[in-house]
Symmetry: C2
Subunit: 332 residues, 2 copies
């Protein structure tokens, strides 16, 4: 037990220390985003965060309003040539095939087992056929364990690295910078929520209660020693487009002030954060065919077309990966 006078001294020193750590002048001393090139994108993000935490700024926000939302695939980690969840699903089909001889003649399983990629459905409602045996009729806990075990050995087909090493270093720095400034970072992914949760802790340090995503219906089931929650063969919600904004309103219930995405599926999330409000919207534009991939106007779920066309009018910051990022991955 500290003596009262000593306690006051400690409080005073703590307050002084705290101020020295979070005040804008102290932040200026170290670069919070060293993997970002010294260009306008970096400046705008840093200025935004500093204004948010500076009581004298018109943009100042109390801590409980500092909510940031991030798409996952293509925003926090690599999504090309296929989403990690799709790789997981195909790997699981192959691993489970010995006990499913019927798959050898039944599509879409046959295409997966024969590596007939042109006949494997894209991540869509058709793809759900492949999700049934790999994602459903098991508990949330069992599914997460399977995903974690897969992630420990899975390698990206091109980079030959674990997915946890294919997170974007500039984004890890941004997450840490926000966290240090009292922000609550949420992932709002199109991916299945438990798949993303199983990876988000080790990949980004984001806990399960900060992950929102597409979801399967679940069922509460009494069992011998303890009840179980079972993942059913039915989609409850697809977290994409307008649904991302609706899920943010439903689950977080606080308007985000920063939204980061990389596709038209993030359009409404960006719009909800910025239109008529003072939030910052950021688009990660994949322009680096050497260090990562260059794409935008593809068809499919990764398409970035409308959001890119409207970025200037909406005031969204377009981050050009090739130009704005000094490093892309943690191991560079």
């Amino acid at each position: 037990m500290l003596l009262p006078q000593f306690r006051n001294l400690a409080f005073g020193l703590f307050a002084a220390l705290f101020f020295s750590l979070v005040s804008p002048s102290a932040l200026a001393e170290t670069d919070p985003l060293p993997s970002w090139n010294d260009l306008p994108a970096k400046h705008r993000i840093i200025a935004f965060v500093r204004q948010t935490v500076t009581p004298e700024s018109a943009r100042f926000l109390p801590a409980e309003k500092r909510i940031a939302v991030f798409d996952n695939d293509g925003t926090l980690w690599v999504e090309q040539p296929v989403y990690a969840q799709m790789v997981f699903t195909l790997d699981r089909i192959r691993a489970m095939a010995p006990s499913h001889p019927e798959w050898r003649t039944k599509e879409p399983f046959k295409a997966v087992l024969e590596n007939d990629y042109k006949n494997i459905p894209g991540l869509s409602l058709d793809f759900f056929e492949l999700m049934i045996p790999t994602h459903t009729e098991m508990t949330t806990g069992a599914f997460r364990k399977t995903v974690s075990e897969w992630a420990a050995t899975a390698r990206h087909p091109h980079f030959k690295r674990p997915y946890a090493k294919l997170v974007y270093r500039p984004m890890l720095e941004l997450l840490a910078f926000l966290e240090k400034n009292g922000f609550q970072n949420y992932i709002v992914s199109g991916g299945e929520v438990e798949f993303v949760r199983a990876l988000a802790g080790s990949a980004y340090g984001i806990p399960p209660n900060r992950v929102i995503g597409s979801a399967l219906k679940t069922e509460y089931k009494e069992a011998a020693t303890a009840p179980e929650i079972i993942r059913k063969k039915k989609i409850e919600n697809i977290s994409n487009g307008q649904n991302k904004a609706l899920l943010i309103d439903r689950i977080i219930g606080i308007n985000p002030v920063l939204a980061v995405g990389n596709s038209d599926g993030d359009y409404e999330m960006l719009e909800w954060t910025t239109a008529g409000k003072d939030g910052l919207g950021v688009i990660i534009h994949h322009t680096d065919e050497k260090r990562e991939y260059a794409y935008d106007r593809l068809s499919g779920m990764g398409t970035l077309k409308k959001a890119l066309d409207d970025a200037s009018r909406q005031g969204w910051l377009v981050v050009d990966m090739k130009r704005d990022w000094l490093n892309v991955f943690p191991d560079e």
Copy 2:
């Protein structure tokens, strides 16, 4: 900027201070639950929380696993003789009646306007008729504002006090004790999520992203300056019974270690927290007809029957309001 040697000193003092604040020995010095009588219920709750934060304890949990879930009506504040949300709804019907002359002859509106209580539907699907004009076809923001404005002047029919003064002081102490020990407190209410959110900040200091509840479908709508999210005339989810456990798993994604409820609608939430796990389940039993109300085996949504019968077998702590609480309300 502090000199480095000074900074080290400050860190040391901060660490000493921090330890003195959170170590079990320091907590023993001040009573964290002064409105609880010095009886086994209080002892068990304090012991549980201390074990959770003591690294040497078999029950120790890292901060990210310290999740506590609380029912709202009857657990954190008064729910008798009717739920606050019902009082709000009836008040709104009366306030809106001048622009709805058709209600004078149309049930269930007629019963409300004539104070014909036996013909006003209970909080149920029938009650939804009354929710349509009072809760739907408006934005989330507009609805929350209406609720806040109502709460500023509404008075409880029996206690003649604002609802914010009818929170249970022992529960406010428990919320604060948990928060101080690194817990994340969530409300998991049967009430409509935005109704509860509009009140939970001022009543309990619980932010919107820690409130889970029943929900209406919402719709994303483009509008002139900014998009809007509209509450629709359709129920998306009733947060009661098994659904409480499913919502906890879906939205929090971390198993709670403490659950507090007061009715059979909280049964599965308690069971999910405790059965086959090491969590603590707590039932608030309303036994104090003088200071509050005495009830349990009623029919309707507030029924406490099965959970009370099974409490001993399930190892749940039954808090007897009359015996265990020294004070009930903040203003005593």
